[in-house]
């Protein structure tokens, strides 16, 4: 299909940035219609995200009711200060991406790029804090090996169909039976850790997906893809990022603050 552009001839078009020459896909009647469609689509997708986490929240509520002491016990091992710091980091990044949308609307290319970069940095900082100060210390003392010989060790556990061996040193706070540990004060405490790791793990995965998406925005922004005439992608990735933030806002008090 050739596209015959009657308004802006080839040369003129080449000199103008993408966001000025952008026209909607041919099955839409106007750019506005396309913008609306893209936004409705994203909102629907966000609804699916909320429902996905809703399953985890229901699981949390039920097991908390079933084993309240185990949950209280487990949550003592989380440091609310790290959680709080991470909350601030994410909230700040929500603000920067919201600002980035405004930048695109006002054609402030430099600020747009800067805000996208800050958002990416915050996202990475979030995952970094989570890993180094929260996950890793609790895992210390085990290592992962694909060497089957290690399964002879008495203290080892296998996972992933016997391909991975968790060989325990002195044990940390980890989920499930595979990861049982000597310090449990309550027999159901592993359940708490299961919920904790599933919820925060799936959330962190969303953060990392966000890093990918925002990096993609950044690369496009460098090519002047976004501006007043066209900023669909910035808008919807921004929406996605807010929901990732919002889910954390619920996870934080449920996991760290309620004892």
């Amino acid at each position: 299909m050739t596209t015959l552009d009657i308004n802006h001839g080839g040369d003129a078009k080449a000199n103008r940035p993408y966001h000025q020459t952008y026209t909607q896909a041919s099955h839409f009647r106007s750019k506005d219609e396309e913008f609306d469609a893209v936004k409705i689509g994203m909102w629907l997708f966000l609804a699916t995200e909320v429902l996905l986490f809703a399953g985890l929240f229901v699981g949390y509520a039920i097991f908390r009711m079933m084993h309240p002491e185990a949950f209280a016990n487990g949550s003592h091992y989380l440091d609310w200060k790290w959680g709080c710091l991470n909350t601030i980091v994410l909230l700040f990044s929500s603000w920067t991406i919201a600002t980035a949308i405004g930048n695109a609307q006002r054609n402030e290319q430099k600020a747009l790029r800067r805000n996208l970069l800050i958002t990416i940095a915050c996202a990475l900082l979030f995952v970094g804090i989570k890993l180094t100060f929260e996950y890793m210390p609790k895992w210390s003392g085990w290592f992962l090996s694909i060497d089957p010989a290690l399964s002879h060790y008495e203290s080892s556990k296998t996972a992933l169909g016997g391909m991975l061996h968790f060989v325990e040193g002195y044990g940390g706070k980890r989920p499930g039976s595979l990861f049982d540990y000597p310090f449990a004060e309550n027999p159901y405490e592993p359940m708490w850790w299961s919920i904790y790791y599933c919820a925060t793990g799936i959330h962190a995965t969303h953060v990392l997906i966000g890093v990918g998406l925002i990096s993609w925005l950044y690369l496009r922004a460098r090519k002047l893809h976004f501006g007043p005439g066209h900023y669909n992608a910035v808008e919807i990735v921004g929406l996605y990022w807010h929901i990732v933030d919002l889910i954390w806002i619920f996870l934080f008090p449920l996991l760290y603050l309620i004892h």
């Binding site: 299909m1 699981g59 592993p190």
Partner: protein
């Protein structure tokens, strides 16, 4: 091909493209390789619809083979006879088929459980859930709206690839030796880690998880399409009822699928990391799994049936050439079914949940029968005084009214607590859901395939032979499943390879019916494929339909319409409008009422 782009475009709406020399969407673009690449990378909703049609029918075939194996095993019970002092197992037909006659009873049961799981999982996740929306829905929804495509064409193609990817996982689980958890993946069947079939179970669960995404993509796409891409003048109450049905279906797909997503993900974690959420040995709760599972899987039975109901609404109006009776009642009953369907999941857990919960869920279950019945009454009202044309789609439509009603009505004794305690997990349940899923959805699918076949492929199928195949399917279906109501009420439990000798006659009748069904389906397949090769060329509007898809060519051009259609009349205004592309002589309008006469 040239497309006008630019601000003019935005200001004046579509230039229908009178200067297009637009060929049929089926036109070949060069040689074999070029054609394959063209299809594999297409974002045309029509081609994606056809690709989905081929894919889901292939899975229907795979699931169908498993069904035949199930019925083959059940021709006689598994017994242990004493021959010359040694005990010999008899009636393990599947074991014999797969090469080992002297298999132990337990071994034979294991094979049966795998075949049964394969049948259920393939039919539910790979055939009936994506089935109608992804194939006919994809093809027809934009046409019916007068649009050029769905809102997100690339997402649409992605959904097809995700579907194929997910199905490959499922097939992998099967060829690696199968899974015996049942399609419901109940824990602890699906979570006990000692099982040597570990990876197969993981793959099967992942398959269902991945297929969920393709379902969400399709649903999301359709909702946005209906909101944003209706042709000028096409208001919500001018939409064909098929579109209302697709819309309601999509709402369920988008809202229910994420819940099964997280459930299956946790199940995978359960197997890989033993997180214990559903495992009682670790303090988890298997009933929680059942709640999560049915929170998705009950609404999803309406994902299966609503599109079928949409097809029936179209067929019944067009082939009895009459304004549909109670348009708004049908449209809103679709929406209310979608809404209520989220409140009744507990009726699958009557025997495992608390009494109070069971009572509430029972009451709510009866509610869902109301909008369903509203539809049936409206369809029958439409037939009344219509000029009914008996052809394959209409025959299937009438067949649907009969079998679906049986399916819906037998849901009521299952929804009542006292009777369900007796019927639960018996063949009565099996018969119930086959009457709704097969007697409802599959039959409606067949009606739809025949109704829109000329539109999709530009060829007429052979009417006489297709009607004959339809009758075979009708007889085969009822022979197979009506017997199962009796089996169930007499106490035959579901999911067993063997049974007491007194059930044998009924089981054999059922297996015989399955054979007739198979012949019927194969005949349909041959007729449809045959029509592509030797069928008469189809006119643009063979049935005299009034919805937009009949304004397009048969098969439609790549951009669907030569001019963007404008809605000037309702979708079923058969009394006032001569259908597009039709001769007014063949479609005389109703005489205006004589002066002073009263309308009845």
């Amino acid at each position: 091909m040239t497309t006008l782009h630019g601000d003019i475009h935005g200001a004046h709406g579509h230039h229908g493209g009178h200067d297009h020399h637009d060929g049929s969407y089926l036109e070949r673009k060069g040689g074999m390789i070029a054609t394959i690449i063209d299809w594999a990378t297409t974002i045309d909703h029509k081609k994606i619809g056809v690709m989905y049609l081929v894919a889901v029918l292939t899975m229907f075939f795979v699931g169908g083979i498993a069904a035949m194996l199930i019925r083959y095993e059940l021709i006689d019970p598994v017994t242990i006879a004493q021959v010359d002092g040694a005990s010999v197992t008899e009636g393990t037909r599947l074991a014999a088929l797969f090469g080992d006659k002297d298999m132990s009873v337990a071994e034979a049961d294991r094979i049966y459980n795998r075949v049964m799981t394969l049948h259920g999982a393939v039919m539910v996740f790979m055939f009936i859930v994506p089935g109608i929306p992804a194939s006919l829905g994809n093809f027809l929804l934009p046409l019916m709206l007068g649009a050029k495509d769905v809102a997100f064409p690339r997402l649409n193609l992605a959904s097809w690839y995700v579907y194929v990817f997910g199905s490959i996982f499922g097939i992998l689980a099967i060829v690696m030796g199968g899974v015996d958890t049942g399609w419901t993946f109940y824990t602890p069947y699906s979570s006990s880690h000692a099982d040597p079939g570990h990876w197969r179970v993981v793959f099967m669960i992942l398959a269902a998880f991945i297929l969920g995404f393709s379902s969400i993509f399709t649903g999301l796409n359709f909702i946005v399409t209906v909101h944003k891409l209706r042709a000028p003048g096409l208001g919500w109450f001018d939409l064909p009822l098929f579109v209302w049905a697709m819309y309601s279906t999509s709402v369920i797909q988008v809202l229910a699928t994420p819940v099964i997503g997280i459930t299956l993900l946790l199940l995978v974690f359960e197997r890989l990391f033993h997180v214990g959420i559903f495992d009682p040995a670790l303090g988890g709760d298997p009933v929680l799994f059942q709640h999560f599972f049915w929170f998705y899987s009950h609404p999803v039975v309406y994902v299966m049936i609503l599109p079928g109901m949409g097809i029936i609404s179209e067929c019944i109006a067009v082939h009895s050439r009459k304004q549909i009776f109670g348009y708004k009642a049908i449209a809103f009953s679709s929406l209310s079914i979608a809404a209520i369907s989220f409140l009744v999941w507990g009726h699958h857990l009557f025997t495992s949940e608390g009494e109070l919960a069971a009572t509430i869920f029972s009451a709510l279950t009866f509610l869902v029968a109301i909008p369903t019945a509203v539809k049936v009454f409206n369809w029958i009202g439409t037939l009344y005084k219509g000029s009914i044309q008996i052809n394959t789609p209409m025959l299937y439509t009438l067949f649907f009214l009969f079998t679906f009603s049986i399916g819906g009505l037998t849901g009521l004794p299952l929804g009542a607590l006292a009777t369900d305690l007796h019927l639960h997990d018996s063949y009565f349940v099996v018969a119930h859901f086959h009457y709704v899923m097969m007697g409802g959805t599959v039959i409606a699918f067949l009606a739809g395939i025949h109704h829109w076949w000329p539109k999709m492929f530009g060829r007429m199928y052979n009417e006489r032979w297709s009607m004959f195949a339809c009758v075979l399917v009708f007889i085969g279906f009822n022979t197979t499943f009506f017997t199962q109501f009796f089996l169930g009420t007499r106490g035959m439990p579901r999911r067993y390879a063997s049974y007491l000798p007194e059930y044998q006659t009924l089981h054999q009748i059922s297996s015989l019916g399955a054979g007739i069904l198979l012949v019927g389906f194969l005949l349909h397949l041959a007729l449809l494929v045959g029509s592509l090769i030797a069928g008469k060329k189809a006119p643009a509007n063979p049935w005299g339909g009034l919805t937009f898809e009949w304004e397009a060519d048969s098969p439609p051009t790549t951009h669907n319409f030569h001019h963007e259609p404008i809605a000037k009349h309702g979708p079923y205004a058969f009394d006032d409008v001569v259908p597009p592309h039709c001769d007014p002589k063949d479609y005389p309008l109703a005489d205006p009422l004589p002066e002073g006469a009263k309308a009845h």
